[in-house]
């Protein structure tokens, strides 16, 4: 049984290690082989980018060598996939090689797509890549006051990041003595401040208490950099001095190019996690089209379920459980306070008032993540 995992990020890594631990005997006896193909020899802990933007983590703190995170016996190659030949159970890679499989798992993630909005790439600041987080960090250092707009597009990865950056910026400007000269303004596409109703119920009074203004039902259509104005699909105009955006995302180009899913989102069964219409192809993390959060924790819980199911299929011929849509997210509510949200397909979240203890738990998790990627936690 050859298992091929494409993507060495959160989902792919957790799954590979989960499987290698469950199936070490079968691997030793030559009955199971696990291969991983990824686009990078490094693994980035993406949630750390939020802290890079405000100067509280350095980019090098976010990386580990991917090979060092993998259990012995997992064969790892840095060789991005270019062609998926699902009918032939084979992928072709950049180096020109072909890799066959019995089971394929796709976990190639997602990316910001500012190109989708005219003017956004040129005039907006982002923090979803290393380069853009550093650029924003420098812009914030030079900032001397004005109107800061945080403009959110959908879908995007990490449901809480837009709120977190807003609350963290509030404390950042306060610490630098700039709050009096700064207006924080948050825009969100639907009729409340967050997609999750209970999170919106918690965040809106928090915004009001902190003097953060907001505009809901705001879908960014265009950025007019000359006039420094945002234009919305709904017809409104919002001026800005500093524009920070979480642009709508897309999946990876390779997914779209190979016809696996529009905009890079692969149609996925919400419980079994197989690609729709394919029995031996599974999908994990951001690249699914599931209407749930694109978060590391989603990828993690999906990988736990899939790891258990694939191992059971090899051993007893059938999967043992369904993925229930579970997601867990920390929410930084400032520089030293945080809360969290836990939810699944059936149960909405219910965030509690933020505490300092929860903030320290998040800081600890930023380090514990590496144990979780190794499959230990």
């Amino acid at each position: 049984m050859r298992i091929l995992i494409v993507g060495g990020g959160m989902g792919g890594t957790i799954l590979a290690n989960n499987l290698a631990r469950r199936l070490h005997r079968e691997m030793r006896d030559g009955k199971v082989a696990i291969q991983m193909l990824s686009a990078s020899d490094r693994h980035m802990y993406q949630p750390g980018l939020l802290y890079v933007a405000v100067g509280r983590m350095m980019p090098q703190d976010l990386y580990r060598d991917q090979a060092s995170l993998l259990e012995p016996g997992i064969e790892f190659h840095v060789d991005p996939v270019e062609e998926f030949e699902l009918d032939a159970n084979r992928v072709k890679t950049k180096s020109g090689k072909a890799y066959g499989y019995d089971v394929l798992v796709i976990a190639t993630g997602s990316r910001i797509y500012p190109e989708g909005i005219p003017g956004l790439e040129e005039h907006g600041e982002f923090f979803y890549t290393e380069a853009s987080a550093l650029k924003l960090f420098r812009r914030l250092r030079e900032f001397e006051g004005g109107k800061v707009v945080i403009a959110v597009g959908v879908p995007h990865k990490c449901p809480m990041a837009p709120l977190e950056i807003t609350f963290m910026l509030h404390d950042y400007f306060k610490d630098r003595g700039l709050l009096d000269k700064t207006q924080l303004h948050y825009t969100y596409p639907i009729g409340r401040t967050h997609g999750l109703e209970n999170v919106a119920k918690w965040a809106t009074p928090e915004f009001e208490r902190l003097g953060i203004s907001y505009e809901t039902l705001f879908n960014l259509k265009e950025v007019d950099g000359k006039r420094k104005v945002l234009l919305s699909e709904e017809g409104s105009e919002t001026p800005y001095d500093l524009l920070i955006s979480i642009p709508a995302h897309r999946g990876m180009e390779v997914i779209e190019k190979n016809g696996l899913g529009k905009s890079g989102w692969i149609p996925t069964d919400r419980h079994r996690l197989n690609m729709e219409g394919r029995e031996n192809v599974y999908v994990l993390g951001d690249t699914t089209n599931l209407p749930i959060s694109k978060a590391g924790s989603t990828a993690h819980f999906e990988a736990d379920t899939l790891g258990e199911n694939l191992a059971a299929m090899i051993r007893v011929g059938a999967p043992v459980r369904d993925y229930d849509g579970k997601v867990f997210c920390f929410i930084e509510a400032g520089k030293d306070r945080a809360t969290y949200a836990m939810f699944n397909y059936q149960n909405p979240p219910d965030p509690k008032p933020p505490t300092q203890a929860m903030h320290w738990f998040k800081m600890a998790y930023n380090q514990l993540y590496w144990a979780s990627a190794r499959g230990i936690l």
């Binding site: 989708g116 639907i190 997609g195 999750l196 699909e233 209407p291």
Partner: protein, 78 residues
């Protein structure tokens, strides 16, 4: 009307990003004139979606509830 291209988007059980966000994301990728049918188990969407659709200037084709699932049809007009 019989020739309308209808795309069905199942957002039942979706609390985040939420059915309306699902609709907004999907509509962007459709052609003007096409109809999207959103399935939502969140009754808030039944109010949220028409509000957004009217504000933006798309067309509400209809809404009905079947067994706790709202079927909301929207035509993309721009």
């Amino acid at each position: 009307m019989g020739d309308d291209k209808v795309k069905v988007v199942d957002a039942t059980g979706s609390f985040c990003p939420g059915p309306l966000m699902e609709l907004i994301g999907q509509l962007k990728e459709m052609e003007v004139g096409d109809v999207l049918e959103l399935l939502s188990s969140d009754k808030g969407s039944a109010a949220d979606v028409p509000e957004w659709v009217n504000k933006v200037g798309h067309e509400m084709v209809g809404t009905e509830e079947k067994d706790g699932v709202w079927h909301i049809r929207v035509r993309k007009l721009k």
